[in-house]
Structures are given as structure tokens and as C-alpha cells.
């Protein structure tokens, strides 16, 4: 007799059957279903196999058995380490919560030189200083930012046009750095600006403090200028010049750009992407328009419905995928964030795709007047007259009063996707997020009815669209893996 045992000897124990680990499923298309586990790993099964699996009728020699065992959907008598691994994976996904708020946005002024009709935050005539953040407000806000336990503090300057109050930006950076000499946090500074007013002083400041520049580029010149009017109608020219100046003087990766989608954008996805490629960006974030601020007032939000945006999105995505298939590396960042959730053990910090919601937890906004908002969108909502998510004021409230604000806690708790009707049994729950501000704005309810939710509808379509694409083509799967691990 051989001193070695055959494989069958080690498989005997599998005949005792298996138990199910927690899983959820949802129809992908036709007979195909997406089945996901707690950590967001997923497989696509046809209805018959799904049924067999759920009834514990799969046999150990079925390839589906192996796949589901390896991905921790089932537990057989041979091994129990799946539970340990699932635990670690789940813990990894939720670990960033312990750090609380990392992103602190300072609205240095509401003044702006642009008058964009879609502007999600009201602008003001650009010489009225009462819309500027004062040094007192800045100091109080810094105090609160350092109360966050996060080892990383990302300080982002927003507007209006943030550079119209460069003095307070400089003041905040210097105060934060002074304070940090004994706090030792990992500091990052970002200035969100349209770059039209970029001056030597700003470049110097950015160089001295390694500040990153985040700007707006909506697409080709005509579209950009139409979306972003300013005196002289030269927004595009100024932005492009600014982008290249920042690259030249501060470094290639010192500037990023965001686009806002409007009704006029919808027919131009390729042209917008081409503009980003021509300007030497390595990716683009094809953003949905949010329902806040002037966007609603000016009927921009209603001007196109969800399905038109989805067509725009997938047309753009497929164009980008095609570029990658031909060997040109270019990323669509929204997909990249979702794919990071689907294909890796990590949890990206993107506020809109967090559950518990990122509202007030992942990011917080200190407005020019000292009001504290749970998110950028909360401040936009307030500018429309709804101050639900104003969670306090730096001059009159303590850190505890602000971050234990009843409205905030209720919004976070009630919107947690793991316990919300329709989310809690959705196979995409591990990939999705909770957005109480959006649902409050559109349905006057932190949770919202998901069949009526544009947030749910949009994300659901994106999730399915991404899975279909990578499932049908291994080369696309490779590209998606690259995006996921960026």
C-alpha cells in the first residue's frame, strides 16, 4: 500500500453536505443572477444552479461547488476557516469607520467670478466681503477638525471661488501646520478652484505646502463656456492655461479635474472624454448631476431623466473601455470606485458610496459663516432653504453637540443599507452606499422608497452594467482589476 492517500480520501468528508453562509442574490438579466456574500464577493449563476445551491443540492464535483466554497458562500465539513476569513474581510471593510472624519472642507467664500446656472452652491457678487470666512471662524473650525481622531486630515478649500479669499487659505494652512507640530497628523491640502484667478502668489503657496489643485473642466470649449459663464466668456481658456501652469510649476499630478454633467453634455460623452485625453488627464469622473442648489431652481435637474444619464454614462464607459482594449490606459473613476468595492478587500472613501453613510462621518463642511454641514450636498440644500443637515455652528456649538447632532445620528442610523427595506436584501448592498441627504432632498425621507430613488436606480444600473461587461469579456475584467487597485 502506498504511503500516500489519494484525493478521494480527502474528499470523503464532503459527502456529508454543506451549510449556507449568508448570501444575497438579484437578477442580472434573463436567467442570470448575481449572488454576493457579506464581503461583496460575487458570482454569476443561472437560475437552476442558484436554486440547487440554495437547496444544498450541489455535489462536491460540480465546478460551481468549488467556486462557491472558495469564495465563502458555503461551509462543508472539511474546513471552517471560511468564517475566519469572512470575519477579517468584513472587519477590513468597516475598519475606516474608526478613524471618523478625514475630509474637512472649508468654504472660504461664497463669492465667485463665474455665474454657472447649474451651480450647486449659490454664488454672490464677487466684491461683497460678508460672504468671506473670517479668521475667527477659521480658528474655531480648525479646532473642530483636530478633534477628529483621524490620523489623516485632508483640508479642502471650497467656494464660491475659494481663491477670492486667499488670505484666509494661507491663514488656515499656517495655523493647521502650527497646531500639527505636536498633533503629527498626516496633512493634505486641496484647493478647489476654477483656476481663472490663478496668480503667482497661489502657485508659491501651493509649492510651499504641497497643495493639490482640484478644478472644473466640463468638456470641449463650447460646452465648458456655455456651462460656466464668466465675464469675457473665457472660462475654458483660463482653466486650461491654469491646468498646464500647475502641471508645469507644481507637477503633473498636482492638478485634478471634475466635470459636471448638464443636459447639453448628454449627447457629447466622447467629446468630453476626448477633451480630458487631449488635456493629458489619465481618467475622468463621469458624474451625475446632483439635485441641489440652482440645479433644481433652473430646472436643470429635471431637464433630463435618469435613463438619459445612464445612456450617456455607458456610452462614455464603453468608449473608455475600448481605448483600454486598444492599449491606452485611461480610467473612469466612478466605475473604478465601484469596482474597488466589488473586486478588492478595500473600502474606498467616496462619500456617496458608504454605508453607514459618509454624511458628517467621512466628510464635514465648515461654511464661511461658521455653520457646519454634514456634507457638501447638505450645504447646497441649505442654500435652497432647507437647513436640516446644518448640524451646528462653530461659534455656538461644541464638537460633541455638532457630531452627536440628533438629525445626523438619526439620518445615519435609519439609512444604514444593511437594515433598510430593499437594501438589506439586495445583492449589491456591499457595493452600494446610503445617501440620506439625497433621499431627504428628493423624497423628504432619510431612507426613501428605493423603486422611486434615482440613487438606487442609477447605482443598480451601474453595478449590473459593470458586471455584465466583465463577465462577458476577460480582457475587460483585466482592465477593471487594474482600475480597482489604483
Amino acid at each position: 500500500m502506498s504511503k500516500f492517500s489519494p484525493l478521494e480520501h480527502f474528499e470523503d468528508v464532503l459527502d456529508a453536505g454543506y451549510r449556507l453562509l449568508p448570501f444575497r442574490f438579484i437578477q442580472l438579466e434573463g436567467d442570470d443572477y448575481v449572488v454576493s456574500n457579506m464581503a461583496g464577493e460575487f458570482v454569476v449563476l443561472d437560475r437552476v444552479k442558484l436554486d440547487e445551491f440554495a437547496k444544498c443540492e450541489l455535489t462536491p464535483h460540480d465546478p460551481v461547488y468549488s467556486e462557491l466554497k472558495a469564495k465563502h458562500f458555503l461551509l462543508d465539513e472539511d474546513s471552517s476557516s471560511a468564517v475566519d476569513l469572512l470575519t477579517v474581510k468584513l472587519r477590513t471593510k468597516f475598519a475606516p469607520l474608526a478613524n471618523f472624519t478625514a475630509l474637512h472642507m472649508f468654504v472660504t467664500t461664497l463669492r465667485c467670478d463665474h455665474s454657472c446656472p447649474y451651480c450647486q452652491v449659490s454664488r454672490a457678487n464677487d466684491d461683497r466681503q460678508e460672504f468671506d470666512m473670517s479668521r475667527e471662524t477659521a480658528l474655531k473650525s480648525i479646532e473642530l477638525a483636530f478633534r477628529s481622531p483621524s490620523p489623516v486630515l485632508k483640508i479642502e478649500f471650497q467656494g464660491g471661488e475659494s481663491l477670492l479669499n486667499l488670505d484666509v487659505i494661507r491663514f488656515i494652512i499656517e495655523e493647521v501646520k502650527k497646531r500639527n507640530s505636536h498633533e503629527n497628523r498626516d496633512l493634505q491640502f486641496v484647493i478647489a478652484t476654477n483656476l481663472a484667478l490663478l496668480c503667482d502668489e497661489t502657485i508659491e503657496l501651493a509649492r510651499e505646502h504641497d497643495i493639490l489643485i482640484s478644478t472644473s473642466l466640463d468638456g470641449p470649449e463650447a460646452l465648458h463656456n456655455r456651462n460656466r459663464p464668466r465675464p469675457g466668456n473665457d472660462s475654458y481658456k483660463r482653466t486650461i492655461e491654469g491646468i498646464h501652469r500647475v502641471r508645469r510649476e507644481l507637477g503633473r499630478d498636482s492638478v485634478g479635474a471634475l466635470m459636471t454633467t448638464t443636459a447639453s453634455s448628454l449627447s457629447q460623452s466622447k467629446a468630453i472624454i476626448d477633451e480630458y485625453i487631449a488635456q493629458d488627464f489619465r481618467g475622468i469622473f463621469l458624474r451625475p448631476l446632483s439635485p441641489y442648489g440652482f440645479a433644481i431652481k433652473t430646472k436643470f435637474y429635471q431637464a433630463y431623466d435618469q435613463s438619459k444619464w445612464l445612456d450617456f454614462y455607458f456610452e462614455g464607459l464603453d468608449y473608455i473601455i475600448d481605448l483600454n482594449l486598444k492599449g491606452f490606459a485611461f480610467t473612469e473613476y466612478y466605475a473604478a470606485m465601484v469596482l474597488r468595492k466589488m473586486l478588492t478587500p478595500f473600502q474606498p472613501g467616496y462619500v456617496d458610496l458608504l454605508s453607514p453613510a459618509g454624511t458628517g462621518v467621512a466628510a464635514v463642511v465648515y461654511n464661511y459663516d461658521g455653520d457646519v454641514y454634514a456634507s457638501d450636498e447638505s450645504r447646497m440644500l441649505a442654500e435652497m432653504g432647507d437647513k436640516t443637515f446644518c448640524i451646528g455652528n462653530v461659534h455656538s456649538n461644541t464638537y460633541e453637540e455638532i457630531f452627536l447632532n440628533d438629525t445626523l445620528l438619526e439620518a445615519l442610523e435609519s439609512s444604514f443599507a444593511g437594515s433598510v427595506p430593499m437594501c438589506s436584501w439586495c445583492a449589491f448592498e456591499p457595493h452600494c452606499g446610503a445617501d440620506p441627504v439625497f433621499h431627504h432632498a428628493t423624497q423628504s425621507d432619510f431612507v426613501g422608497k428605493k423603486p422611486l430613488s434615482a440613487f438606487c436606480n442609477r447605482n443598480m444600473s451601474v453595478f449590473k452594467g459593470l458586471i455584465k461587461r466583465m463577465n462577458n469579456n476577460p480582457e475587460i475584467r483585466d482592465i477593471f482589476e487594474r482600475w480597482a487597485y489604483m
Binding site: F4, S81, Y485
Partner: protein, 391 residues
């Protein structure tokens, strides 16, 4: 192939009475007198300084010296300053335990093992070999502290229990700049305290090389011929992570491991992404492999695409990945940059088919044991258009 040990060393002169002695080689005629007595002088010219404990003559006539002499055949002409030897004069024995100029020196800690892998290159023996630990503890202080890396292997080193930690501590204490690579099946670390103990030594540059052969527990257990091994190994890796001990995953490529290799890679990226390195290693035709050849042998040409796919998955997840014990002519060019020249110099060879190959210089070559069986697709690369792809 380099010969490390002989039973035909010729000892002469006044040989002190002992069974076994560990001694360092010196080739320095100006060595301080105070050190000479406990060292062996390697004679390379007519200048033979006095006072050394031993005099070694490799492939040259034994001259007149003041002290015992050892005469060695030309196979030992690689001996150099800083090498460490074990002398067993009663049996005309001599073994080279450490070579200063080797890229890596490996120490077998024990022959005992609790796995019984189908392809074990060092078949375990259930013997009482505690003397090995004593010997290594004696060797470590003699090793040049500037050597970049040493390796502990087995058998299963952790079966030594506390003596295992004693060895890790000694290599930290005596070799404070040297990396320590330990090959273990990781099972012992399923015990959290055991993993903690290793972490608490705070070795400055430690890596545990642990094999995971499948994403399926029963397949892994079959390959290592031990029920329950997979769960212990996985828990061991997780515990080592908790104890801040870096882990490398090692996968031997054969018929039982290549079929689900891409799935194993995916499993690693989802569950063990924290590992420092993944080594995908060609089969060595020695030990148990020969007995299980039918169950193990697959021509590397037949798993070429699985291997490329696997490397792609790991690389995209930014896990450092290497292919060991493999020949470039059997690999897709897209993965050449992952192929390492990993075979220890004393076991490395090339085949007659390699004659004229333009990339031989950077090919890992073969284990000397490969003569038993190797791919029928070995062929010289005659057009080298890949130098740009080698990274």
C-alpha cells in the same frame, strides 16, 4: 553543481581529539594572531602564516606547516574567506555549512515534519535531530554579519517549539543586518500565542515562506497529505499578520495545483492581499516527486497560459510576484520579467537544448535533478527582442 560535503577529506598532522568541530575559514595571512587558533587557514600561495588551528589545501600538495592539515579535492576550490565548516576527522568527513559568497545560505533545522507533501524535496524523517539546532547556534556567531540573507528550512522548523524561537533570536542578535527567510507550513501559527512569540522577537527583516496549494481546503490537504492542514495554515497566516510578521506564499506548480491556479490567485487577492510576495515555483525532480511522478508531472508548456493568467491577477492587485525554477523558453514573454534566477548555484544547470540560447544568462535554468524529467519543449531562444520587457 557544487559539492558541499565529502567523506574523503584527508586529515594529517596532530589532530585534536574531538568528534565534530565547527570552524571558520580564513584566507587572510595577516589575521590577528589572537584569532588564528580557532580558524582554518586556506592555503592559496606559498605564504603560510603560523598559528592557525588548521591548514586547508585544496587541490594542491600539502606543504610543511605547523599544525594539522586537511587536503581536499578540486571540487572544493570555491572555498573562500569567511566560509564555515564542520570537521569530522574520524570519518574523513567535512561539510561546508556556510559559504560567504553564496547568494543565499540555507540551514535545515530539522528533518521532522507534520505535512507529508506529495512533492517533498526533503522527505521528512522522524528522528531525534536536536543536535542540528546546537550546531546552527554555534555557526551563527561565525557568519559574516554583512551577508544579505540566510534561510531556515526543514522539515518543519516550528516543530522545534521554543528552540525555534531560540534560533530566530540568535540570528537577530548575531546578524543584525541580515534578512532571515524561514520556510514553514505555517500550521503552528494557528496557535495565536505561537505567532505572537515570533512577532515579539521583533526580528529586523524576517519573512515566513508558507505554501498554500489551493483555494480549496480538501485539495490543499491532499497535496500536503494532512487532514485539517489547510485551516491551520490559513489561520496561521492570519495570526502572523496580526503579529506583524511578513508572509510570503509559495506555490509549487504541478498537476494538482495548476488547474485552479488563477482561482488561487484570486483567493489570495481577496483574502490574503497583505502578503509580501507570492512565489510560483517549478517542480523539483527529487525526493517524493519521483515516487508520485504520475500524479504530479505536467509539462510546463501545458500550464503556460494558467501561469500567465495567475501572474496577471496577482500583479494587478499589486502583489509582488515571482516565478521560480522555471525556464524562459516555457514562459509567455509577458511574464519573463517575473522569472527569477532562483535555483541555488550548487543545484543549477542547463540542458544540451540550451546551447546557443541568447537569454541563458538570465534564465533560471534547471535543478540538477531535472535530468529525471523535464519539458520536451526546451528550445534555445535565438531572437532576443525582449530586453525592454525585462524591467
Amino acid at each position: 553543481m557544487i559539492v558541499l560535503s565529502t567523506q574523503s577529506a584527508r586529515y594529517a598532522g596532530e589532530i585534536p581529539a574531538f568528534e565534530r568541530r565547527i570552524i571558520r575559514v580564513s584566507a587572510d595571512p595577516h589575521r590577528p594572531t589572537a584569532l588564528r587558533l580557532r580558524e582554518a587557514f586556506l592555503v592559496t600561495s606559498d605564504i603560510i602564516p603560523d598559528g592557525f588551528g588548521w591548514y586547508i589545501f585544496v587541490n594542491r600538495p600539502v606543504g610543511l606547516v605547523n599544525g594539522p592539515t586537511i587536503e581536499l579535492p578540486s571540487a572544493f576550490d570555491y572555498l573562500a574567506d569567511g566560509d564555515v565548516l564542520r570537521l569530522t576527522p574520524a570519518r574523513n568527513g567535512l561539510r561546508v555549512l556556510f559559504r560567504r559568497n553564496a547568494s543565499i545560505n540555507s540551514f535545515l533545522l530539522t528533518e521532522r515534519c507534520n505535512n507529508y507533501c506529495l512533492m517533498c524535496s526533503q522527505p521528512p524523517r522522524n528522528v531525534n535531530d536536536g543536535w542540528i539546532v546546537d550546531e546552527i547556534l554555534e555557526v551563527l556567531p561565525l557568519i559574516d554579519p554583512d551577508v544579505p540573507e540566510i534561510m531556515f528550512s526543514g522539515g518543519e522548523p516550528t516543530l522545534l517549539g521554543d528552540r525555534f524561537f531560540e534560533l530566530v533570536q540568535a540570528s537577530k542578535s548575531y546578524l543584525p543586518r541580515t534578512a532571515l527567510h524561514i520556510l514553514s507550513n505555517g500550521r503552528a501559527f494557528a496557535d495565536k500565542e505561537f505567532a505572537d512569540k515570533l512577532g515579539k522577537i521583533k526580528h529586523h527583516d524576517l519573512m515566513l515562506g508558507i505554501p498554500v496549494y489551493s483555494d480549496l481546503s480538501h485539495v490543499h490537504d491532499y497535496v500536503v497529505q494532512a487532514d485539517g492542514a489547510y485551516d491551520e495554515t490559513i489561520r496561521g497566516i492570519l495570526n502572523l499578520r496580526q503579529s506583524d510578521v511578513p508572509v510570503e506564499i509559495r506555490v509549487v506548480l504541478h498537476k494538482q495545483t495548476v488547474t485552479r491556479l488563477p482561482q488561487l490567485a484570486e483567493f489570495i487577492t481577496r483574502n490574503l492581499l497583505f502578503v509580501s510576495h507570492v512565489a510560483l515555483m517549478g517542480l523539483e525532480m527529487t525526493g517524493f516527486t519521483k515516487a508520485n511522478l504520475d500524479d504530479l508531472w505536467i509539462d510546463p508548456i501545458d500550464y503556460r497560459s494558467e501561469l500567465s493568467k495567475t501572474v496577471g491577477i496577482l500583479d494587478r492587485a499589486r502583489i509582488r510576484t515571482s516565478i521560480y525554477n522555471s525556464q524562459l523558453c516555457l514562459l509567455d514573454r509577458s511574464v519573463w520579467k517575473f522569472a527569477a534566477q532562483s535555483i541555488s548555484d550548487w543545484k543549477q544547470e542547463y540542458m544540451p537544448e540550451c546551447d546557443g540560447c541568447l537569454v541563458k544568462g538570465r534564465c533560471g535554468g534547471f535543478f540538477s535533478s531535472a535530468h529525471v524529467k523535464y519539458s520536451s519543449h526546451i528550445s534555445p531562444i535565438l531572437v532576443d527582442d525582449t530586453s525592454h520587457a525585462m524591467g
